[in-house]
Symmetry: C2
DNA sequence: AATCATATTATGTCCAGAATAATAGGGATA
DNA sequence: TATCCCTATTATTCTGGACATAATATGATT
């Protein structure tokens, strides 16, 4: 009987990956051509192509026309960390989320921010500070600057019940961003709002966001003492 | 004359993305079917499929059989941060890289590490501490534990000239990992090797690595004062 | 020896057709 | 009303073919 099981592109992808991991095809070596692999697996070349393209997307192999498909020598792993709103982070911990607006002012864009956003001239900025609490304990202190020019009706929003985080995500859903992580000492409002002694090491995330090459917002999020940001690859 | 330019899948992807960004197809709405889109763009359905699949991979839309293709309501951005060896990080800054082994011992696996790696029983561990310098200034202090069972000939390696980072990458190139970022105070060897006062906030990266479900290594990398890890999305 | 044109080759992209799998929605049934 | 089942719809995947494109190798010319 022995039914010939049809191979899918996933089977091919997995088998090729396996051969790479077990050094059948060692690092830096050239794989057989798509035609040869298609013959071996008994499928169309397009199927092999699909499989190899996925491996190329993952950075396992590199492909060049005429050059063939090659196992990369030093794979560059990419840790993917999902950027989500604080509320969800807290809710996923099964903790009670609470948001509070601390201050809201409209200001002229300070010089340092103008440089950071790449703004050619002075602009109106909505400046916000807010607190996010988990089970009534400080979780994250957020300081945010929003470019009024990019999101005009931000001036109508009071941010009393919804954080700027979520508001902007709904308003400007598809944007680009630059992110920087660092460790900073607790000073001024940080130590106050996060209830820690002066100088306590705190995890901080700064993010500048653009939409269609127009600067939208800069945010500085500082987390409670001992916070760990986790991910896998 | 007006030559009809052939549309590629990239054109379709870009056009669809554009319509989503400009709210022609607002968040949560249902896109036309592949057949309809193929008719509109004058191409085969496979081409539309390729385009939509890419958008789905990017998390812009979700696709379900029968359910159709839908614009996601709250796009979950994924910041991709390339994990590379310290040497390359430093060399990309056009700084001189210098590596030094601080200590190397073979120990029985301590209980906390056994738990972290999920090891069922006691095991041999190679414990290393090393320093990475950029232009003769402290850059990163690395403390590493390697599971001898997973990489037996680690016992033959003295790590005098090559860091365990690079050695392992060549040895176990395709692995999975869990990563945690945090801010810690400088204490003990940290303040000493990184030349900072006690309690200075330092950026720290912890990583546990598996290969084929076998724990390989745990590493704690602590960076110099003021270090920022950067990425985009 | 150096340069240029040409042929070769492997991947990239596309097409039209078909079979498959999941599921939403409607209708029949309890 | 609630539950189950059928069916139409839609995305998913594969096929086998075709042409396009980029990089390399080869050969001819200078």
């Amino acid at each position: 009987m022995s039914e010939q099981k049809n191979v899918g592109f996933q089977d091919i992808r997995d088998e090729v990956l396996n051969r790479i991991q077990t050094r059948v095809w060692p690092q830096g070596s050239l794989l057989p051509t798509e035609i040869e692999l298609a013959a071996e697996f008994g499928c169309a070349r397009a199927t092999v192509n699909r499989a190899l393209r996925e491996l190329a997307d993952q950075g396992i192999v590199t492909r060049k026309r005429k050059g063939g498909t090659r196992v990369v020598t030093t794979p560059v792993k990419q840790a993917k960390l999902p950027i989500t709103v604080v509320r969800k982070t807290i809710e996923e911990m099964n903790a009670q989320y609470r948001y509070a607006l601390v201050s809201r002012t409209v200001i002229d864009c300070p010089a340092w921010l103008q440089a950071k956003l790449g703004l050619p001239e002075a602009a109106n900025i909505v400046h916000l500070t807010c607190m996010h609490q988990a089970d009534n304990r400080p979780f994250q202190f957020e300081e945010r600057w929003i470019n009024v020019d990019a999101v005009p009706h931000v001036t109508n929003e009071d941010f009393l019940t919804t954080g700027p985080n979520e508001w902007l995500l709904a308003e400007v859903p598809f944007s680009n961003a630059e992110i920087a992580f660092s460790a900073v000492p607790a000073t001024g409002p940080l130590q106050e709002f996060l209830s820690v002694p002066t100088g306590t090491p705190l995890f901080q995330l700064e993010r500048t966001t653009w939409f269609q090459n127009k600067p939208v917002t800069f945010v500085r999020m500082t987390f409670h003492q001992g916070y760990q940001m986790r991910t896998t690859y």
